[in-house]
């Protein structure tokens, strides 16, 4: 296994060989390699196919801006589509496959598209696929969809875990190149809390790719030395493999740390990646810059890459893309590439420099004022056709081309809050504008300061001023002597003339022609250009392609580039895994689980649980021999109505309301009166929203003159508490009221049924008289149970039976349910779940969530008279609006099937017994339905126009979803004990 293009030196460990596979073939690389550098070392240039034309592609870059060399990394449920070979760290046993090709990378049938490229010009699909009409969905689109996309998902759940975390610092430094390192050292020595983040796995940035010296050492050596000191400082946190993805409001940055992506599998318990939310007082962007290409015909062949990338491969990774390389440049960088290549013994066939006044070179022939017209080579470049200054053509042979069109500062982060970059003439590029995120400053080449010396000094200076603004005094470090060459560049965006295609966006196959067509069809704003041609919308987000497109559009529109402007850069800076954004909140951990005090006991009973918000509640308690849930539920209902049943109702919200104005406060938030409620009494209360619609209902028990316990529905516990605090703090700040949520503090059980008192008499300590006389319906009080445990007793009923709710401190809730069951044996007590609870409340006609659906009024609910007009309460005024008080307003009533074998289905709509069935004839709907074991019939409650006056009428309950129509009779919603005798028994 030879590494034909492997050179000596570099920042890889030649003593640590690593085996890896690409498209099934085995290769060898070294520790420190990326997949791309290792493949190049093995003389593999072809790594991918383009999106539209399926053109053969090799790496254009050596970093995260890579548009071409994107592959499927790993296999099975860890397969990662669209992974950049240029940033994927090599590890032993790495497996990668090329994507978006069939059957193989070398022979891809879809490359046929390339032959018909003239049909696939920008926006072609908007103009076609319309004939015949039916064909788009049936024929054309399925074909397009099949062809679409790049890599593929395994379709299996991601097996890895992801963490989220939070960090705080005085100064966040984004990028650990020369600017970032000198900034970090400056801030670190000053004792500031510093976070230095670097997307690469080693620090140094371009210092690792260039050969210029810093003082008497190499850039890489200086980086190592600096890093060593930073690591010794406890106030500096160095985060490599960490990409800052977005700049959010008020100094908050999102960053992704790739904890385990450089390993085959994460360590046990370790995450694959961590999403950090970084709170910074100040931030400094040292993200460097990205080189841009010069477009020419067939400039997309494997082997044609950016000059800076070639230097990176040769200098950092000791891997040359080829043995003979041509250089195409419009600035001095091209000459630097020539020097580095020859130093490594790689042949430079020519330096093609668009500048007529190009400097000469001791390393290769310089063709001044020349330009590349075209390239040859099917799966990799073999030859360039070059037009010389005198117009003559010369063929230059080469297996790779290093293209240098100048550098674009990485201004992205400065635009994440919609700041606009400004144009910098000297470097012909956009630099950060004045309206970047508050607290974010920029240094180094990201700020358009292109020399190493400039980067080092601006980094240090910027750190000093950033810290100064938050009152930390710092002194700029002495920066080493470094290269300080001026940018000597002559803007050159694309080679004119010729009829072929010159690529701008290589992944999406957007060519110069496409930009011209967009202009011709009046898609001239940058946003129109982007959307019509898809320029810059590929996985590389246009990092290497946008500028070229803008420059050409500017030329066509006869405008300057800044006049044309740029599209907005948006987060994330580089594509970010969905997994890490989800963090640990997956599967069962999506939301926390709330367990009731009787949960563990209920599990022992084999209860079936149901999610109610974040709560898990027992839905029913199956007994041996019960094969269908209805059997269990019917039994629970019948046993409760016949004797006694117990249900955990802890989930209902409880709010402790205290203070001398507590009564008056409740009087304002409930539409019915509370001011005169006696101590020791409980009252049902209906809360309206200010718009007059019912918000929630519950009870309020008065334990003392200045002390109430308010209950809310389970679903609205949080929003009702919030509303009460709003009323207290914002509307009536001078009321003496204090609110504390006590939902979790008390385990509360409903004890319902004719024998409930008998049962409770065995629980409640004897000194408390709970006889009907002493403790009548709607009484409440503090008692003790089981020999002295403090408890609260409420005589309230949701089932319509004689019933109580008993509350004890939560830690005793488990013991209490066991005690109730034991004491209740003689009455054949049953535990009942939410289903039986629901059946009984429907039998009693109590409104619940399905009825309090946010659109119903007190009137609709049959409680119109409860809304007191004699006092000020939330919602009373707007509840009087005409639209909420029409004569045929919906009224809550009950429904019984004419034939009791027929089901009543919740969600059915109500229609007259005869006549049309459609939206216009709709008279209402059924909100809740259940099978009533005591009535031996399915029953329902719901809302019917003028329902109050239509008892006895026969209607159709229609359920067109299932083609069901059931004849139902309109009845009172109180199916059970309409007069309330049982309640008061």
């Amino acid at each position: 296994m030879t590494q034909k293009n492997r050179l000596t030196g570099g920042l890889i460990d030649h003593t640590k060989p690593l085996e890896f596979k690409f498209d099934g073939k085995s290769y060898q690389g070294y520790e420190g390699d990326t997949l791309a550098s290792a493949l190049l070392a093995n003389d593999v240039r072809l790594m991918g196919r383009s999106f539209k034309y399926h053109r053969p592609r090799g790496p254009l870059t050596a970093g995260s801006e890579e548009p071409n060399a994107i592959i499927e990394l790993r296999t099975g449920n860890r397969q990662e589509p669209n992974t950049r070979a240029t940033t994927a760290e090599l590890y032993d046993g790495l497996t990668a496959n090329s994507q978006n090709r069939w059957p193989s990378l070398r022979r891809d049938f879809m490359a046929i598209n390339d032959r018909f490229s003239q049909f696939f010009a920008a926006g072609f699909y908007y103009k076609t696929f319309m004939w015949p009409a039916a064909f788009w969905e049936k024929v054309y689109e399925p074909i397009i969809r099949k062809a679409a996309g790049l890599g593929s998902l395994s379709m299996e759940a991601d097996p890895d875990a992801y963490d989220k975390g939070f960090l705080h610092c005085d100064l966040l430094i984004i990028g650990a190149g020369p600017a970032g390192l000198s900034a970090a050292l400056t801030a670190g020595r000053a004792g500031a809390r510093v976070i230095l983040s670097e997307e690469d796995y080693i620090c140094g940035g371009r210092l690792n790719s260039e050969t210029n010296a810093l003082d008497d050492m190499s850039g890489a050596e200086w980086a190592l030395q600096t890093l060593a000191e930073l690591q010794s400082l406890p106030n500096v946190r160095i985060m490599t493999r960490t990409t800052v993805i977005g700049a959010y409001d008020h100094g908050i940055y999102g960053a992704v740390e790739r904890v385990s992506d450089h390993m085959a599998v994460p360590a046990d318990g370790a995450p694959r990646q961590t999403l950090w939310r970084i709170y910074s007082k100040q931030a400094l962007l040292c993200a460097g810059s990205t080189e841009r290409p010069i477009a020419f015909e067939n400039n997309d062949r494997p082997g044609i890459m950016l000059g800076g990338a070639v230097r990176s491969y040769v200098n950092r990774w000791a891997a040359t893309p080829a043995q003979e390389i041509a250089i195409f440049t419009n600035n001095d960088d091209g000459h630097r590439t020539a020097a580095d290549l020859t130093a490594k013994g790689v042949k430079v066939s020519a330096i093609i420099d668009t500048r007529t006044d190009a400097p000469t070179s001791e390393h290769a022939t310089v063709l001044a004022g020349a330009k590349v017209k075209d390239s040859l080579g099917r799966l990799g470049v073999k030859q360039l056709s070059v037009e010389l200054a005198d117009g003559s053509i010369r063929n230059v042979s080469c297996e790779a081309v290093a293209v240098s069109g100048g550098w674009n500062p990485n201004v992205h982060m400065t635009c994440h809050q919609r700041g606009r970059p400004t144009w910098h003439e000297n470097i012909s590029a956009f630099v950060p504008g004045p309206d970047g995120p508050p607290g974010l400053s920029v240094a180094g080449s990201a700020a358009g300061i292109m020399s190493t010396h400039g980067a080092l000094t601006s980094g240090a200076k910027s750190a000093v001023s950033a810290l100064k603004s938050i009152g930390i005094k710092a002194k700029a470090i002495r920066t080493p002597k470094a290269e300080d060459a001026p940018v000597n560049l002559q803007p050159y965006w694309y080679v004119k003339g010729g009829n072929g295609r010159a690529w701008l966006d290589q992944q999406n196959d957007v060519t110069v022609k496409d930009v011209k067509l967009a202009h011709q069809e009046n898609f001239r704003s940058v946003e129109h250009l982007k959307r019509y041609t898809t320029l810059g919308m590929a996985t590389d987000q246009g990092k290497t392609s946008n500028m070229g497109g803008l420059a050409i559009m500017a030329e066509l529109a006869g405008k300057s580039i800044p006049e044309v402007g740029t599209t907005i850069f948006r987060p994330p800076y580089t594509p970010t895994s969905m997994g890490v954004l989800g963090g640990r909140a997956v599967g069962k951990d999506f939301h926390p689980t709330r367990k009731t005090p009787s949960h563990f006991w209920a599990e022992e009973q084999g209860a079936v649980f149901v999610e109610v918000g974040n709560w898990l509640r027992a839905q029913w308690f199956p007994k041996a021999g019960e094969t269908h849930w209805r059997q269990s539920v019917d039994r629970e209902v019948l046993a409760t109505r016949k004797s006694v049943g117990v249900c955990d109702v802890t989930t209902l919200g409880k709010v402790d309301v205290q203070g001398t104005d507590a009564a008056e406060f409740l009087n304002k938030i409930y539409c019915n009166g509370f001011a005169k409620l006696a101590v020791g009494k409980t009252r049902y209360g209906l809360m309206l929203r200010e718009d007059g619609i019912a918000m929630d209902d519950g009870t309020a028990g008065r334990l003392a003159e200045d002390h109430f316990v308010v209950t809310t529905t389970t679903a609205n516990a949080v929003s009702v508490y919030r509303h009460m605090e709003f009323c207290r703090q914002c509307l009536w700040p001078d009321m003496d009221v204090q609110l504390i949520s006590t939902t979790e503090s008390w385990a509360q059980y409903a004890v319902a049924g004719p024998n409930s008192r008998k049962l409770l008499e065995k629980i409640v300590d004897s000194e408390f008289d709970i006889s009907n006389e002493a403790f009548p319906f709607m009484a409440c009080g503090e008692v003790t149970v089981c020999g002295g445990l403090r408890a609260r007793l409420f005589r309230i009923s949701f089932s319509g039976e004689l019933a109580y709710e008993i509350a004890v401190p939560t830690r005793y809730g488990d013991a209490m349910i066991r005690k109730l069951m034991e004491a209740g044996k003689e009455f054949d007590v049953v535990p009942y779940g939410t289903e039986a609870l629901g059946v009984m409340r429907i039998e009693k006609g109590h409104a619940a969530g399905n009825e309090l659906n946010g659109t119903t009024t007190a009137l609709n609910l049959g409680m119109g008279r409860m809304v007191s007009k004699k006092k000020d309460s939330i919602g009373s005024i707007l509840s009087e609006r005409v639209g909420l008080n029409e004569d045929d307003a919906l009224m809550q009533v009950g429904f019984k099937p004419v034939d009791n074998k027929e089901p009543v289905i919740a969600g059915s709509h109500l229609m007259a017994k005869t006549g049309e069935v459609n939206a216009k004839t709709d008279q209402g709907y059924i909100t809740s339905a259940a099978y009533s074991p005591i009535l031996e019939s399915s029953i329902g409650i719901g809302f019917l126009k003028d329902g109050g006056n239509r008892k006895g009428e026969i209607l159709r309950a229609v359920n067109p979803l299932k083609n069901q129509t059931v004849l139902v009779e309109v009845v009172s919603a109180h199916f059970v004990d309409p007069e309330g005798e049982r309640l008061r028994a």
Binding site: H168, G269, P592, T593, T660, I740, T742
Partner: protein, 190 residues
């Protein structure tokens, strides 16, 4: 004395303790909690009565005070929670209700919360992966309420490497799972 056996928030009869690398996560069930809210107009005078009743000053915002085995920590404007051993102070709420009468509204909160203590060098790294509180700079005795595992929790720093987390009791299992998972992650990344 009544006959009922309590269980911990995690459902055991004994407190659960997990030792993970350099951090120990312990369930602490044996504490009685009472919330105190000053009555309107008593915001100032409460301090004296409070001090008299408990020997601790009414805590300042984001701070707590401890005397012997009693701690009081700030929970909101003119509001705090008093913590004392359950065995000796099970009915603390009732006691305080009398002693603070007319000055404060007193509510038993003993079982409103589950308390987990994090102790050891890795408690910072663990909390870093759990909540947005800047635990590095939080003073000893500092307390604040924030989001942890989607839950509103109090974070109280008792000493350099000792934090108490108070979360809603019904979610004890989820909260415990989140803390343990974070601690394991820290250990695995060493």
């Amino acid at each position: 004395m009544h006959s009922l056996q309590p269980i911990t928030a995690l459902g055991g009869t004994e407190a659960q303790i997990d030792v993970i690398g350099d951090v120990t996560i312990s369930e602490c069930p044996d504490w009685s909690l009472t919330s105190i809210s000053a009555r309107l107009g008593a915001e100032k005078t409460i301090a004296t009565v409070f001090k008299k009743a408990l020997g601790i000053a009414f805590p300042k915002p984001m701070l707590s005070g401890t005397k012997d085995d009693i701690t009081a920590f700030w929970t909101g404007p003119d509001q705090c929670i008093v913590e004392a051993p359950y065995t000796t102070h099970e009915t603390l709420a009732a006691t305080l209700a009398t002693s603070l009468k007319t000055k404060a509204s007193v509510t038993e909160q003993s079982d409103g919360w589950v308390r987990f203590d994090l102790e050891g060098a890795d408690c910072f790294a663990t909390l870093e992966r759990s909540c947005a509180v800047d635990v590095q700079v939080m003073p000893v005795g500092g307390v604040t309420r924030t989001i942890l595992e989607h839950l509103g929790c109090f974070v109280l720093r008792r000493s350099d490497h000792h934090f108490s987390i108070y979360g809603p009791r019904s979610s004890a299992g989820s909260l415990h799972h989140a803390l343990v998972t974070a601690a394991r992650s820290v250990l695995a990344q060493k």
